[in-house]
Symmetry: C2
Subunit: 290 residues, 2 copies
Amino acid sequence: MLPELKITPLRYVLAVVDQGGFHAAARQVHRTQPALSMAIRELENRLGEALFERGNQATLTPFGRYCVPRFRELLTQHDRLSGELVAQVERQAGHLDMAAVPSVASRLMPRLLADFVADYPGIRVSLHDGTADFVRDQVLAGEVDLGLTSLGEGNAALSFTPLLRDALGVVCRDDHPFAGREAVHWQELMGESLIGNGTSRLLQGTDAAALRDHHAFYISNMVSLTAMLVAGLGVTTLPQLAFPEEYQRLRFVPLSEPRVAREIGLLQLAGRSLSPGASAMADFITRALA
Amino acid sequence: MLPELKITPLRYVLAVVDQGGFHAAARQVHRTQPALSMAIRELENRLGEALFERGNQATLTPFGRYCVPRFRELLTQHDRLSGELVAQVERQAGHLDMAAVPSVASRLMPRLLADFVADYPGIRVSLHDGTADFVRDQVLAGEVDLGLTSLGEGNAALSFTPLLRDALGVVCRDDHPFAGREAVHWQELMGESLIGNGTSRLLQGTDAAALRDHHAFYISNMVSLTAMLVAGLGVTTLPQLAFPEEYQRLRFVPLSEPRVAREIGLLQLAGRSLSPGASAMADFITRALA
DNA sequence: GCAGGATGGTAAGTAAAGCTGATCAATCAG
DNA sequence: CTGATTGATCAGCTTTACTTACCATCCTGC
């Protein structure tokens, strides 16, 4: 019922007005002169009113004078939108929300983020950190585009892209016999005062599963855990990335047998596309950690 | 360089989103489902990013969610413009400026304008009145769309459409011998105290041209002229439309020989179209005075 | 587990739109 | 009058935008 205006003929009209003639306008829009004549004629027919005076060369009718500023306005809106979309697609603008476990957030992300914003200065990034469960829930709820976390139990709604393996090791104080050792066998831990923590579940299903029943304490909070270790109350197992390097008195010794590692990678909703910004981040991280 | 968005596919996308599926959307826009699938696919290719999740039914990608409100905005602008133009073309909105000589403005226009606004309630009309020279200059300068005036000397830039003939007659007081007569011959005026006025130039080139040299006075102002006539200082010639009917003591007697009339009609710029509103008025006046 | 009815995607064929190149009439400058 | 330039017109080609018909998949009810 309302006529559907096409963008191109409107542009032709403005070109004719701005250039003062069909030939010059045709050159500007990289078409031949008959193309403009016919397209504009078609537009006039659709509107039911002439835009240019017939016979007179490139002179607007009163109706044409009425239309031109309005055409220009619509074209401006169109070009603004078009440019905005291209900027998103080309990763020159946009934003993304991501979540990561604390060890990744504090040990990997600072460098990654700095490099990312250098490559994609137009993209705004929000980073939330929390436990692996928190990260998974945020991704599942669509609160964040991407999660950077360790692999939990499989979930059909989630897709996980492994990026690096984070080997489990023993953490002890610098005066402990393990300190300075190349590696430690799990059975050696059976005689130790062993402190459990949130990452201890990584042991289940491995040869060292028995250690889980051997905990003297269980401390979920990282600050408390390190305080215990510094105080010499015992040793614990931690993935290397979670080892708090800033404590001079603590040492990390790899576990030689069994070799246990958590798989760190990108978590996203399965079967769902990423926003252009999130996609840029996912590609960037994959490249950076490959 | 910037991709040129077409309006129709954007509308398809919104239909799919609003209807929750391609089939329902196709029904809404009176197309078949493959038409939408292909048009939207083409749009996605042009943008370089998917709008709907592949495989998933009618689910937007994050990029799609970003686009939809912007598409809706552009379509709103488009439809507003389209509707506005149609309203102009269909004479449901618009405006026009016209000029008329005082006799026409006061004797013909009141009725014409009342009928016009009844037919075209959306069109705003401005009416300026002035001498025939003023009307001609306003039309020539493009200050008004239409002039309603008597025919002056020909001008290639102007086009005149005659509408009615306004016969010249003698105006005298009710106690004058001419009062009540059927007609008067020009030679009878040679013995009278004759007052000239702006319309006296109509006599030139006629048998009665001699009367112009016979004026006792020349009064350009209409109010002064009628005052003179009412005071019985003489008689004058006037076109019938210019005869001030509201003065009970004045009488109008047609001039039988020569039959002189001014041609009243529409004046407009030659070779230039009228605005839709002006065109409505021109057609209306032509019909009304036919 | 298997028909029946949704979903959306794909392929082939068609009508129309959009463009080019050649040509034309009209206008204008030298 | 001539040569250049204006916009209009037409034939012919290419591309686009559809439609119809068909296919694979998924969900629902029996």
